[in-house]
Every structure is written in C-alpha cells, then in structure tokens.
Symmetry: C2
Subunit: 234 residues, 2 copies
C-alpha cells in the first residue's frame, strides 16, 4: 500500500515495526543512522517516516529539521518515537512539527493505528483517467475529448472549461466559479470572455453543443441529457 521509512538504531524495534507494517501490506525501508535519513528519504520517496528521536550522532529533531528544509522531503509526514514520556521530548517533537508522536515503550497496535490515521490524512486523491458522460469521453491522460469515439480538437482553455463543467454534470457552475477555475480570475465582474469561449466550445462540439446549457443569471452547466426532439444523431 504505502512505503514507510523506519528510523531507529535499535534493530529489535525496527524489526518489530517492520513486521507489523508488512503484515498490513506496507513496504518498509529502514535506516539506523540519523545522517542516512535524508539521503534515504530522497532516494526512496516514502509516504511516511517513523523517526526515533534518540539516535546516535545526530538526534531525531535535527533529522526532522533537515527533512523539512529539503523541498524533496518537506511534504513527507513524520511520526516521532520518543524514548520516554518526558516533557522535554514531547515538546521537542511538537515544536519541530511532527505529525504525531508516540512514547516508548509503545504498543505496535497503537503505532499502526496512528500510522493509519496519518496516512489517511495525507491520502492521495485519485481521479478517473477517463470520464464518460453519455457520448462524451474525457481522456485526462491524453488531455483530449472525444465524442462517440471521434476526437474533438480543443484548445487548452476550451478543454479546461468543459472539464470543469463535466466534473459536475447537471450542476450549475456560476460565472465566477468558471472564471476562477479556468482563468484563475478572482472576480472579473463584467466580461464577455466566458461567453465567447462557451460559444467557441459549442461550435466545436457541433450538434452536441446542446449539452452545454445556459441558466440566465446563474451560469452554465453540462447537461448529461438533452431534449429528445432534437436528438437526430441516433
């Protein structure tokens, strides 16, 4: 499921944690030396780091600072392990901005639960590589739109526009919402820009342009179905 880097100089701990993690389907990488953490994190790009605060040579808080200083590792969540439930360690762990921490001795079950919670928090958002609405097929991988298998050549602006509309079909997208999503405009009050692009999009879609509906004073929407009477293509 996820790749987890375990940092501890006590081999017993590493093995115990690894065993439990692997049992839950995770991939485990480990180092016992604080100085090796950053290079290893860069190399293996783990989804989470379990970091013992007590390490020979360089302590865990320092290691954590280094991880946070590097753009390549900055985003990786860290769970700290402190040797004892002392205030010093707790404060150090919190101050350096760990996502969670646990005091030794800890129960493997609790560690697993906390790891699960942190991973869930930083869960990756998945999206469909292909989105299909009726005869419309949006291919996000190739950044293209096809209708009934026929490729429609759209510019990037038009593609962003219809992608936004298709993300929530049959839902009204206000002008400001579209301006924001496609153009990044904060609040462009009056402008015919959106209208023009809607028209260009409709033109390129041909008959199927009827799927893009207008709601006066409200915005535009992608209609998954259109009136039967004009459904002359079937």
């Amino acid at each position: 499921m996820s790749r987890i880097l375990v940092v501890d100089d006590e081999k017993d701990i590493v093995e115990l944690v690894s065993l439990h993690l692997q049992r839950e389907g995770h991939e485990v990488v480990s180092v016992g030396n604080g100085l090796a953490v950053l290079p290893m994190a860069v190399k293996t790009a783990p989804d989470l780091i379990v970091l013992d605060i007590m390490l020979p040579g360089i302590d865990g808080v320092q290691v954590h600072r280094r991880l946070r200083a590097d753009t390549r590792t900055r985003h990786i969540p860290v769970i700290m392990l402190t040797a004892r439930a002392q205030t010093n360690d707790r404060i150090a762990g919190l101050e350096s901005g760990a996502d969670d921490y646990l005091t030794k001795p800890f129960s493997p079950r609790e560690l697993m639960l906390r790891i699960g919670a942190v991973l869930r928090r930083s869960q990756k958002v998945v999206m469909l590589a292909e989105q299909r609405i009726g005869e419309f097929l949006l291919d996000r991988k190739n950044m293209s739109l096809s209708i009934s298998g026929k490729l429609v050549e759209l510019t990037i602006t038009e593609l962003k526009l219809i992608t936004t509309l298709m993300a929530n079909p049959d839902v009204i997208h206000s002008r400001s919402e579209l301006l924001s999503a496609v153009w990044g405009y904060a609040d462009d009050t009056h402008s015919r820009t959106l209208d023009t692009h809607i028209k260009r999009l409709r033109d390129k879609l041909g008959d199927h342009g009827r799927h893009i509906g207008t709601l006066r004073r409200q915005g535009y929407l992608f209609q998954s179905t259109v009136q039967e009477l004009a459904d002359a293509d079937a």
Copy 2:
C-alpha cells in the same frame, strides 16, 4: 461501488438480485418494462445492466440492440438472463453481443461472481490527481505543474511532454515514444522539434531543468534526483 441496472418483470427476481447486489455495496436501479430500459440507462448511466431476455412487450434482445445503437449506452456491459437453458435463447444472447449470460433458475452466488468478473473487466482506470516527484508537483486536475509550490507556466505541448516523462521517472523515453505520446506522430525520423521543446521546457524549469536528462542515441528521461554538487537551492 458500482451502479447496476436490473431489468426483469418478475418482482421476486429483482428483489433477490437487488438484495445480493446491495449486500456487496452496489447501487441498484431497476425497471420491469423493456421499453423503459433505454431511457433509464441514459438517465442513470449504470456501470452494468442485468437484462432478462423474457420481457413483456419488447424482448430483451431487442432492448439490447437499442442499447447498442445509442452512443450514450453503447459502452455499458450487459449480462443476459434467459428463462430456460434452451439453445434458442443462448444463441440469441450471444448473437446480440451480451458480455455474459445466465440461465434461470440461477444461483445468486453465480450471478454475483459473473457480475464481479464483468465489472472487473471493464474496470475504470484511476490515476493520481496529483503526482509528486521531489519538488515537482503535477496537478492533473488543473493541468499545471508547480515546483516547490511555485507555478510554472507551461504550454500544452510542454505540459504533455513533461507529463509523459514524469509518468515513468528515471526511465528512458525514446524519441519515437515521445513523438508518439505528445504529437501523435507515427514515425517522424529526423526533426529538431522534440529537441526544441525539450530546450524550452528546460529553460522554463530554470535550475530544475537538470532533472530532464539526455541519453545520447536513446532518448530523454526525467531524473528524480540530480547531482548533489549542483544542488544549490537547498
């Protein structure tokens, strides 16, 4: 999990099947009238249709033909239910191109297994909405690339190019592969087009352009890590 349209005029069958499907986490829609299938399929866009071949008024094979004739429902897999294990029905079911079929009386367990198999076959491909490699963050939703949180303005061609490279980091992408993926060219032998776009991309990436490596006579690749000595940004 999936939305499944069950078509049968016998309410007992519908309820039995629905119960089992819902137990497996599927959403069930049903109709008992053959003429209502197409409109319902268009309206609810199910992932699968379970279709009884014996229906009052219009028979299942006809319904299936209509589903196949409409671009909005053409892609939806269909499992046929035949009233008896007679050759006529079997042949009719196969001829009309059903994805699978089952003869009544059937065991709910077998139907569930076949439904699972068909759904797995037409499984949707999911992709990460955000792909991160080191400081590079590819946002497929907004079709943009940012490095260390800073947006890099790329043209559609450049974006496709780096998307292709980042799809398999540290793997060589041959010229023909890139030409094919980005430009759709079948086999453009000599051309400096790719080189030029690589250069433009590297320029826009600034220092980080070093992540795009050249393998003489082989192609280009996205390197997840670059030489430390030049890593002056940390």
